[in-house]
Every structure is written in C-alpha cells, then in structure tokens.
C-alpha cells in the first residue's frame, strides 16, 4: 500500500463560537492529486493553514508526510511546496533571479538544480527575461518552479490555472502529472469545476464539513441524489424558456432547475423521469419539449451538495 502523505482525523477549528472546520477526516496517498472544492468561507483555507502547521486545530489531529501538524510544523514546511493563485513573484527580477531567490530561502545552493527546474517547467530560454514582461501562462510556470525547487514531496496548489488560456492550462497540468509520476502528491484548492476535473479525487466542502470525497467519475455516478436532464423548448424558443423554468421550479418532481443559455437543466429524483417532466410542462401549456438524459456535471453535483 502506498504511503499516506496526509492523514487527518476529526480535524476541527473554531474561532469563538464559529466553527470554520468541523471534524474533517480524510487521507491522501503518495502520488495522488486531490481537489478541494468549496465556496468562500467553507473552510478550505483554514484546513490548508492547519495542514501547514500555521494554525493549531481546536480538536483532532493530522499528520503531513508523517509529521505531526501540532509539534513538527517546521519539518512539514521544509518538505512541502505552495503555489498561490496570486503568484508570489518579483516582477523586477528575471526568471532566473526569482528562482535563485526561492532556492536560497530553502537553502538550495546548487546551480544545477536551478537549471533543471527551468528545463522542467520549460523556461530555460526565458531565464534572463524580467518577470513583469511575461504572460500569465509563463508566470504560472515560474510560480510552479519556485514551489518545487527544493524537491517537495507534497504540493499545495491554490487555483493554479485561473485566468490562463486552455492550451496553457492543459500544458500546466501535463507538468503536474509529470511531477506526480515522480512520486510527488498535490492538494489543489479551487472554485472552478474545470480545474477540479484534473484531480484524481475531489472533496466537496460546505460550512466547514467535508460532504463527499471521491473520483470525479464516481461522484457523477453516485453523489447526485437524482438524475440530470436537458430540457429543450421547441416551440417559441426563448419566449417560453422562462415560463418553462418557472413551472419546473414549482414541479414537485424537480429537485433543482436552472437555465443554461438556450435550454434548461433539471435534476429529478431517481424514481422520476422524462415522462413526469413532460406531463408537467404540457399541463403548464408548454407542448413541444424535448427532454434528454445527460451525465451530470461536477457543477450539478456541487450545487446539489453545497447549495442549500
């Protein structure tokens, strides 16, 4: 069995009467990419701060890379890498200087290591460029470089690819997967569903609680308390879209209904189906509809679990 890089048991943090993180337990194996998805204030950052040993838990325990977060936080911080969505880079310094600076902070003096990291993140030819002149995609690669220069075995990535080109995002994730293949693990906190899709397992948080944690495909198959449908209104198109939405939202056989551009998305209980939706819309005077079963998206799951 693979080594556990994170093991959290009943991790809890209260601030006064407010419980920011509420009895969270999970474990993460070496070589995993774990996504942590939740709205603002759901407890994601508080969890990370505790795992980094920056904040003591009120209750519960956790170990990171085998070190106790209460007593061995310095050991942890030397062995993990952290990349924030607001890349902590010096715009006036060159690519090479930024990397040397971070290497120095971690006591890495080896020039060869710096050259190796530049090659790994594909920035060798830009070593002498000022960081302020680089595109977001390149700065993101450099930020990853600064987070891995001391060969950490665990990476914390906070919305690592927000605001970049889809091609740059895919290239970035290929880099992460290369690191993973070398035995590094990554915990990714994000707001964005398409970023969570790159994670092997995804945990969904709300109000300090971990509501579900599984592979994206498994969440789509089992975490939704119902079935997902696309509902197309085929007569009068746009004019009937809102009335159709209003009636679906009132329908007892609908758990959630929403607009998606030119059609509607509805979630029904598992024992309900297209026929029930159709009947309900016909009764509301909307006659020509086409209803197709669809695979729920991570967003459907997320909204079902995290929205109240």
């Amino acid at each position: 069995m693979a080594e556990q890089v994170i093991a959290a048991q009943e991790l809890t943090r209260r601030f006064g009467s407010f419980t920011a993180v509420d009895h969270i337990s999970f474990s993460m194996q070496a070589g995993e990419v774990m996504g942590y998805l939740g709205p603002n204030g759901s407890g994601k950052t508080t969890t990370i701060r505790m795992l980094l040993g920056l904040l003591l838990p009120t209750e519960g325990t956790a170990s990171v890379l085998g070190y106790d977060i209460r007593r061995q936080s310095e050991q942890i911080r030397l062995r993990v890498g952290y990349m924030s969505q607001k890349f902590a880079l010096y715009n006036d310094l060159t690519v090479g200087e930024n990397l040397s600076f971070y290497a120095g902070v971690y006591g890495v003096r080896d020039k060869e290591r710096i050259a190796e990291v530049l090659r790994q993140v594909g920035l060798s030819s830009l070593e002498r460029e000022r960081v302020g002149d680089l595109s977001t995609g390149w700065r993101q690669r450099l930020a990853l470089g600064t987070a891995i220069v001391h060969r950490p075995r665990l990476l914390f990535l906070d919305e690592p690819t927000s605001g970049v080109d889809p091609t740059a995002r895919r290239a970035f994730w290929d880099l992460i997967y290369e690191l993973i293949a070398e035995g590094v693990s990554a915990l990714v906190t994000t707001h964005y569903m398409d970023e969570a899709e790159y994670c092997g397992r995804v945990g969904i948080m709300r109000d300090g609680r971990l509501l579900a944690m599984d592979a994206p495909s498994a969440l789509k198959e089992s975490a939704l308390p119902g079935l997902a449908w696309d509902v197309f209104i085929e007569d009068h198109g746009a004019a009937l879209l809102l009335p159709a939405l209003d009636s679906l939202q009132k329908c007892p056989c609908v758990l959630r209904a929403g607009l998606t551009g030119d059609h509607l998305r509805a979630i029904t209980p598992k024992d309900s189906g297209a026929a029930a939706l159709q009947d309900y819309l016909v009764e509301a005077g909307i006659l020509q509809v086409r209803i197709e079963p669809v695979e729920p998206t991570l967003e459907d799951i997320f909204l079902a679990l995290a929205a109240r």
């Binding site: 996504g35 605001g163 889809p166 707001h191 746009a238 998606t260 909204l303 995290a306 929205a307």
Partner: protein
C-alpha cells in the same frame, strides 16, 4: 443589432491589445467573450462603452462602433444613455446603504424623483436584494456586492449591458445565481430585448451563452453558438478510464487515428480523426488486453467547448 463593432484596433505603447475585432450582438442575445487574461476582452469592452477610443485606421478598413444605432464616437451621449456597464472593479459607497447607493446611480443617470424609487425597488427585487435595502454596502458579502453592481448598471434600463468578468473570484454557488440573473435578463422578451455582452476566462461559463467568441492575442479566433461549435467535433472525442492511467495514455498515443490525448484526474480524453471513433475504441480495447491493462470505460462522448477551441487553435492534428 444593438451592438455593432467593426474592425476595432487598439495599442498601448508597443503592445497591440486589440487587433481587428468585429462583433454584433442582437436584441435578446447573450454573447460570451471568452479568453485568457491579457487577450484583450477588457479593452474591447472599454472601447464599446466609449471609455477609450480605438486607434484610427488608415485606408479602407474602417473602424466603427454603433450602440443602439448611435455612433459612440460622434453621438457619445446618446449611445452611452443606452449602455449599462459593470467593470471588473467597480466602486460602491461602502458607508451608504444599498438603496442609497442605487439612488445615487439612478440620479447620475438622470432618473427623476418620481421615477427612481419604483425603478430601484423593481431592480433590487430582480437581483434579490429587496430585503437588504437598508444594509450598508460595506457589510454585504462579495456575491451581494456583485448583485448591487449589476443593479446599478441596470437602473436606467439600458438596452445594452456590458459585463466584464462579473464572476471572477466569485464562488460557485453565487456564480450560478449570478448567471441565472444574466440569462434571465437576455431572455426577458420585452418588446425590445436587451443585448448582453459578458466576458469570462472560463470555458464552462461560455456554454451558458447563446453565442460565444473566443478571444486570443487581441483577436476573435472562433465564433458561433455552443451547439454549432460542438457539432464540429461530434463523434471525435473518446473517453478512456482504467488503470494504470499513465500506461493507457502512452498506449493511446501510439494509435495513428488519435489526434490528441488529454489526461484528466481519473480519465483520459482522446480526440480522434472524424469517423474513426469506433475503430479507435476497438483497437484500444485489443491493445489494452494485450498489454494487461485494465479498461473500465471506453466510449464516445460529447465534445466540450474547450475541446473545440483547442482543436481549432491547433489547426487540425495535434503537433505536441
């Protein structure tokens, strides 16, 4: 057309921020301008609302911007009267209440004393802030501030609404809420529906729009309805799950009909040549068995918008 822009160009120093953008948005239409940071989305928006001028063009390629029929360069006041604009960073008066803030924007927009109050109440109800009229703006959550910003942009009943990355940094639950409002706005079929132009860096948000333009390096490189765009790759995306995933990926890369391989957390997506999905699925099944790899899912799936954009940007087969 409520928004009609032709051949917009704009440079800042030696940087060409916008390089020949044309776009049209019809009444009742929700148009999504999608692109990464620095693609030129904000500069387009700022030119459309007359905050900055496009560079002047020599020769035939004329630049023009018409908003609700008015030329923004020559009839700026009339054109602006029809525009509601929510910039990425907008300011509210933090020590004024929700209602006081909205009243301020209503008066700036020239609403009379009889008109502003009913209009403000109506718009606050629409965005779901009607129970918070007396709360100070500084005490609102991020999502509520965003809604108040939207209300302020709508207070004078504009026909054209420009929203610059309204959901960046907003959490997913609030984001869903906000999109429902935007879609509702465009879908409300008053006699003259309003035209909404919204920018976002996120592809999954673009799918909610009726038409999408993908911006990159100052140009709109691809444009169309999400359905028509997806149609271009219909039957060309194959999902593969199993283990070891990294091994399956290498295997897939050896199949000649596979144009691109994309790894996700617990699966791989393959883009295959048109009409070759069946063949690839069969071949991969055989190869995996030969190599003792376990395939738990191998099927043709619906292409995502992101697949389409990437395929079009690469101009065909993957070149690494």
């Amino acid at each position: 057309m409520l928004i009609e822009a032709q051949n917009l160009q704009r440079s800042f120093g030696s940087t060409r921020a916008v390089d020949g953008v044309s776009l049209q948005v019809a009444p009742g239409e929700l148009y999504g301008l999608v692109g990464p940071d620095g693609a030129g989305k904000t500069t387009v928006m700022r030119m459309l609302c007359g905050a900055i001028l496009p560079d002047r063009q020599a020769g035939e390629a004329q630049t023009r911007i018409h908003i609700a029929g008015y030329d923004i360069a020559r009839e700026t006041e009339q054109a602006r009267a029809h525009i509601g604009y929510l910039p990425q960073r907008f300011s509210l008066y933090e020590d004024l209440t929700v209602m006081e803030n909205l009243r301020f924007f209503a008066e700036v927009r020239g609403l009379s004393t009889q008109d502003w109050k009913p209009r403000c109440l109506e718009i606050l109800q629409f965005v779901g802030l009607d129970e918070f009229t007396d709360r100070r703006a500084g005490q609102l959550s991020g999502g509520m501030k965003q809604k108040l910003g939207l209300a302020a942009a709508l207070v004078h009943q504009p026909q054209v609404l420009l929203l610059d990355e309204p959901t960046t940094g907003v959490d997913p639950v609030t984001r869903q809420d906000f999109w429902q409002l935007i879609i509702r706005l465009a879908a409300v079929t008053t006699q003259e529906g309003i035209a909404v132009l919204v920018s976002t860096p996120y592809m999954d948000e673009a799918t909610r729009c009726q038409r999408v333009g993908f911006m990159r390096q100052g140009r709109i490189t691809v444009e169309g309805t999400p359905a028509a765009l997806r149609q271009r790759l219909e039957g060309q995306i194959v999902e593969l799950r199993g283990r070891p995933l990294a091994g399956l990926r290498k295997l897939a890369e050896t199949v000649p009909e596979v144009e691109a391989v994309q790894m996700f957390g617990d699966r791989i997506h393959l883009r295959v040549q048109a009409g070759k999905a069946g063949q690839v699925i069969e071949r991969l099944g055989v190869l995996a068995t030969e190599q003792d790899m376990e395939v738990s899912m191998l099927r043709s799936i619906q292409p995502q918008l992101e697949d389409v954009f990437i395929a079009l940007l690469e101009g065909g087969p993957d070149n690494g």
